[in-house]
Amino acid sequence: MANKLSIITKGLLKENPTFVLVLGMCPTLATTTSAMNGLEMGLATMFVLILSNIVISLIAPIVPDKVHIPVYIVVIATFVTLLELLMKAYTPDVYRTLGLFIPLIVVNCIILGRAEAFASKNGLLDSALDGIGIGIGFTLALTAIGIVREILGSGAVFGWKFLPGDGALAFVMAPGAFLVLGYLMVLFNKIAKKQ
């Protein structure tokens, strides 16, 4: 049991995809303009990650080595397209903010990375847990970056405005994303090392 739990917790701390593995930087930098956007992007990625991990762990034994990458990509792309269709149909507002970045989940290195490094070598349950752990780690990291950028950039958290005025514009734009990511990474690794 402790073993299963550690699969989840390592995704949060020791192998946090954003702050430790430094994977999937494109959506991390681009979609974290506010806490809500970061959270939604994290959840969307987690959805794809868990499902693709499960399916890949099931089909890995019968996939010939030389074609395993194309097969995994087809599986991942299928789930991403599925997510895109579902979001368009049932949550059009979320789709409007994240739209462009949803198809890009296909090429998010976290997902293919976990498929290669974990799901293809482990069973269904472990792979699903790994997807949950890494997914939560990614979601929390994106939300954290989003919260900091939203506070500094627009004086608000999750859309709740507590400071009048505009805040430091740079944090809403690209330079702020790099700055916040860098400092949070320092902070995270400092805390993680102490433990």
Binding site: D65, V67, L85, A89, P92, L169, V172, M173
Partner: protein
């Protein structure tokens, strides 16, 4: 362990995986098709309704469209068309600025709304903020279509003259179309090329 990588295995495996994936996607597409279309239609309807007075059947107009106008809709009134909603686009600072503009038959702007834009956050993007002075001044506007700096009647957004000019031009295009229907001539001046030597957003 993984199956052997001979030709037959590889082809069979890829074929099988693609077949299953295609089947899954096909069925999900079929299920979500109607809701997606409904959502898109509802969004378009809401955008049109926002810039028009209440009431009246709305139908898409069929006249030839001038440059910059993507579509227009007519709202039926007791005698003829009560108002027009015009979907119009102009080049903003960061890319196309697409608006829905409600215009009354006499050429008065009823209301405007931003459909999509890629202006700078915190500067030009303010043009999409409902209720700001820049937006409310457009309600029932019938003045000269140019920002005050260019001799018109529009208060530009601070530090976003290019965006304000694009917005003004887009609205002017809509009004020109409607005036054209009623036999009036109106030329849309492009302040962004005529008056602007500076290419940077001021």
């Amino acid at each position: 362990m993984a199956a052997k990588s001979n030709l037959v295995n590889m082809v069979a495996c890829l074929f099988g995986v693609c077949l299953v994936c295609a089947a899954v996607l096909g069925s999900v597409y079929a299920v979500t098709k109607a809701p997606i279309e409904a959502a898109a239609a509802a969004e378009a309807q809401a955008a049109i309704a926002k810039v028009l007075p209440e009431g009246g059947q709305i139908s898409e107009g069929e006249a030839a469209l001038p440059e910059g106008v993507l579509a227009y809709y007519e709202q039926a009134g007791p005698d003829g068309v009560a108002a027009y909603a015009v979907k119009t686009v102009a080049s903003g600072f960061g890319g196309p600025l697409m608006l829905m503009v409600g215009v009354l038959p006499d050429g008065t702007v009823y209301n405007t709304s931003v459909l999509s834009h890629s202006e700078t956050p915190g500067l030009g993007a303010k043009c999409a903020e409902e209720g700001s002075h820049f937006r409310t001044q457009w309600q029932n506007f019938a003045g000269k279509f140019a920002v005050k700096k260019d001799g018109g009647d529009i208060d530009a957004i601070t530090a976003s003259t290019i965006t304000s000019r694009a917005y003004t031009k887009a609205v002017a295009q809509a009004v020109a179309l409607v005036k054209g229907f009623h036999g009036e001539e109106m030329t849309v001046t492009d302040a962004s090329t005529g008056a602007s030597v500076k290419s940077k957003e001021e």
